[in-house]
């Protein structure tokens, strides 16, 4: 029963690996296949392999895949261009041929009655596996340890990058900063902080220079590249707006009806503020 639920899911997910463009999606689909496989192991009387499949495959190997994917760039997609003409079609034809042969061959074999693992698993699956692993397969087990150490060393050697230039010390950085100032006139101090306004205070509003223009260096380059920087003069205009309203209050008789005041509203895009808001601001 479990098999007939999981098998279609696994085949669909595996086929998805062939068709999705992004590597991350392929990794997630592979995770589906592997977890389903773990459940099939549980059905097949292999509780130890069920745990190992989830811990080692889904937990370690797939996470390693995802880590490397993040290092390489998540957005890397496959190129659609074929380097060898007709390679894709050939591969599909070959795959279909191979698959049909394999499936037909397997389905024609009569496997006989299933012996089942009840007898072998009598004292528990894990003790039974341990008994075999540390007696008949003990040499293979020792060889495995050598393999794992070699793999760990190999990964370290491959991932290690020799530093070709000496690391820049703080003194070097300071000297470079002063050199930039002497040669290009680049400001040696820290960058200005973004603007703080009466109605907006966030990293996306540039500070204003004394002449009223925006200080470009006060907002992050990332925000500038995304085009989400707010216009500082527009914000400054809001300030002027508030100031005008306050001036209007003071000029008028406090007993007059607020509704009769000249219509004032914020800049387009900014929430329209009413005279009540302004009075609140004044009170504060």
């Amino acid at each position: 029963m479990t098999f007939w639920i999981l098998a279609p899911i696994m085949v669909v997910a595996a086929l998805g690996i062939l068709f999705v463009r992004k590597a991350v999606h392929a990794a997630l689909l592979l995770a589906v296949v592997m977890i389903s496989l773990a459940f099939l192991y549980a059905v097949l009387d292999a509780p130890f392999l069920f745990a190992v499949q989830i811990i080692v495959y889904t937990g370690a190997i797939l996470m390693l895949f995802l880590f490397v994917m993040m290092l390489i760039g998540v957005d890397a997609t496959d190129s659609v261009v074929e380097t060898i003409r007709g390679q894709r079609a050939m591969a599909v034809v070959l795959g279909l041929l191979f698959g049909t042969t394999l499936v037909l061959g397997v389905s024609q074999v009569t496997l006989g009655t299933v012996v089942g693992l009840d007898e072998a698993n009598a004292g528990g699956n894990v003790p039974a596996i341990a008994n075999i692993l540390f007696s008949r397969y003990v040499f293979a087990f020792e060889a495995t340890s050598a393999l794992l150490i070699t793999a760990a060393l190999g990964a370290m050697v491959l991932a290690h990058r020799e530093r070709l230039t000496p690391k820049a010390t703080q003194a070097d950085l300071a000297a470079q900063r002063i050199r930039d100032f002497a040669e290009h006139g680049k400001h040696p101090g820290p960058l200005p902080s973004p603007g703080v306004y009466a109605r907006h205070n966030a990293v996306d509003t540039p500070a204003l220079l004394p002449d009223g223009t925006a200080a470009e260096s006060s907002v992050s380059r990332v925000l500038a590249a995304r085009g989400t920087v707010r216009s500082a003069p527009a914000m400054a205009d809001d300030i002027d707006d508030v100031r005008r309203q306050i001036a209007g209050f003071e000029a008028q008789d406090p007993t007059t009806d607020p509704a009769a005041m000249p219509e004032t509203s914020g800049k387009a895009g900014a929430p329209a503020h009413t005279t009540e808001d302004v009075r609140k601001d004044v009170d504060q």
Binding site: F3, A7, M10, V11, A14, I17, L18, A23, A26, L30, V33, L37, L40, Y41, L44, D45, A46, F48, L49, V52, Q53, V56, A60, I61, L64, F65, V68, I72, G73, A76, D78, T83, Q87, V92, L94, G95, L102, V103, V106, S107, V109, L111, V115, L117, E119, A120, I129, I132, L133, Y137, A140, T144, L147, L148, A151, G154, A155, L158, A159, R161
Partner: protein, 97 residues
């Protein structure tokens, strides 16, 4: 029991086609993992068929070797990416000429 082996064959074939068609080295690697997993399924199924645990032991060793292989393979992919700024298998064709 036949259905497990058939499913294993189908998964192996899908992995095979993936290795042949995909260009991204990481996805190619994932397809290799899919093939290894398909073999493991067959091993575990046959272990139950024959009533001894040797198949499960073999599947366990396959997992260990796959883990080692993934570590080295991904390190190689990263090294290639560092020098060529690309994870596509088509770009690593220097040995061809």
């Amino acid at each position: 029991m036949t259905q497990y082996v058939v499913l294993s064959a189908i998964l192996f074939t899908i992995g095979c086609v993936g290795v042949l068609t995909r260009r991204n080295a990481i996805v190619v690697f994932m397809c290799v993992e899919l093939m290894l997993n398909a073999c493991n399924l067959a091993f575990v199924a046959f272990a139950r068929q024959h009533g001894n645990l040797d198949g499960q032991i073999t599947a366990f060793f396959v997992m260990v070797v796959a883990a080692a292989e993934v570590v080295i393979g991904l390190a190689i992919i990263m090294t290639i990416f560092r020098t060529r700024r690309s994870a596509s298998v088509d770009d690593a064709s220097l040995l061809k000429y």
